[in-house]
């Protein structure tokens, strides 16, 4: 078994295991959403392993945005987040949600912009070089390859990290961290 095969099966085990834990065992909201996040991140890894790089980036961003949305919705509704129980009041956590949402939307937008700029109406099918799968060649045609043009993933993840840092700083300043 190759290294990538081993990583693939580890990711599959992580994805299915966390999904099962989330569905069967987890009873509290944060545990449920945490299991969901682990499952979705593992799925993003699986997409990357099978050369669906574009989708791996999109899945990563979507998981982060969705996980946070579910987490804070759950927090708002069950009231475990500080100040989050009162939906009419100025919830402090909503700043973090808003910033993460903007970051994720920015990442999505970048992917979409890159896609719209790179894909001609009649996308030429590149002849895959020896040892390169057609899927990987297709990803390269879109300008997304593992190392050279992976800047879009770095930018998207960087945006999310930046918003997370800003959000953590905000919460720390307010004594919520």
């Amino acid at each position: 078994m190759t290294i990538s095969g081993l990583v693939f099966y580890c990711l599959v085990a992580s994805m299915l295991g966390s999904a099962l834990v989330g569905v069967i065992v987890a009873r509290r909201g944060p545990a449920l959403v945490g299991s969901f996040l682990v499952c979705m991140f593992s799925l993003a890894g699986i997409f990357a392993i099978i050369d669906a790089h574009l989708l791996a980036v999109a899945q990563l961003l979507m998981s982060m945005a969705l996980g946070l949305l579910l987490y804070f919705t759950n927090g708002l509704l069950s009231g475990f987040a500080a100040g989050g129980g009162d939906l009419r009041g100025p919830g402090r956590w909503r700043w973090l949600v808003a910033m993460m949402g903007v970051g994720a939307a920015g990442g999505f937008g970048l992917v979409l912009f890159r896609l719209s700029g790179e894909v001609p109406a009649d996308l030429p099918v590149p002849l895959p070089a020896a040892g390169v799968s057609p899927a990987l060649a297709g990803s390269r045609a879109l300008g997304i390859s593992m190392f050279g043009d992976y800047a879009i993933a770095v930018v998207g993840i960087g945006l999310l990290l930046l918003t997370a840092v800003i959000g953590a700083g905000y919460m720390g300043r307010r004594g919520l961290g």
Binding site: L16, A52, L55, L66, L112, L123, V125, A135
Partner: protein, 107 residues
């Protein structure tokens, strides 16, 4: 190289776990998560089939299904955002996340 059968089996398992979550939970957020798992399983199957048949026929380049799955992801996020707004509004009126009590639109 991961084969088609493996990917389809993983996708089917993930779909079953999502379906199980939808059946055994009554909490709306848990139901959501189950539906998201099923959607992701569908995406995985889509990518797997595209990867298999695209490479066999020579017509596919591996990006078609990715673009389609990307659109599915965007729609899924929009659906969750609208659903969250509905959920928050509904829970303010009912004070509960139990799906059994949501009978506002019932005749």
């Amino acid at each position: 190289m991961v084969g088609l059968q493996t990917l389809i089996a993983v996708s089917a398992l993930l779909f079953c776990v999502g379906l199980l979550g939808v059946f055994i939970h009554r909490n709306v957020i848990a139901l959501w998560i189950g539906v998201e798992l099923m959607l992701s399983a569908g995406n995985l199957a889509l990518i797997a089939f595209n990867r298999h048949w695209g490479s066999r026929t020579g017509a596919g380049h591996g990006a078609d299904a990715q673009v389609l799955a990307f659109v599915i992801l965007a729609v899924c996020v929009a659906q969750v955002v609208v659903g969250a707004a509905l959920l928050i509004s509904s829970s303010r009126n009912r004070d509960s996340l139990d799906i059994e009590g949501a009978n506002l639109l019932k005749w």
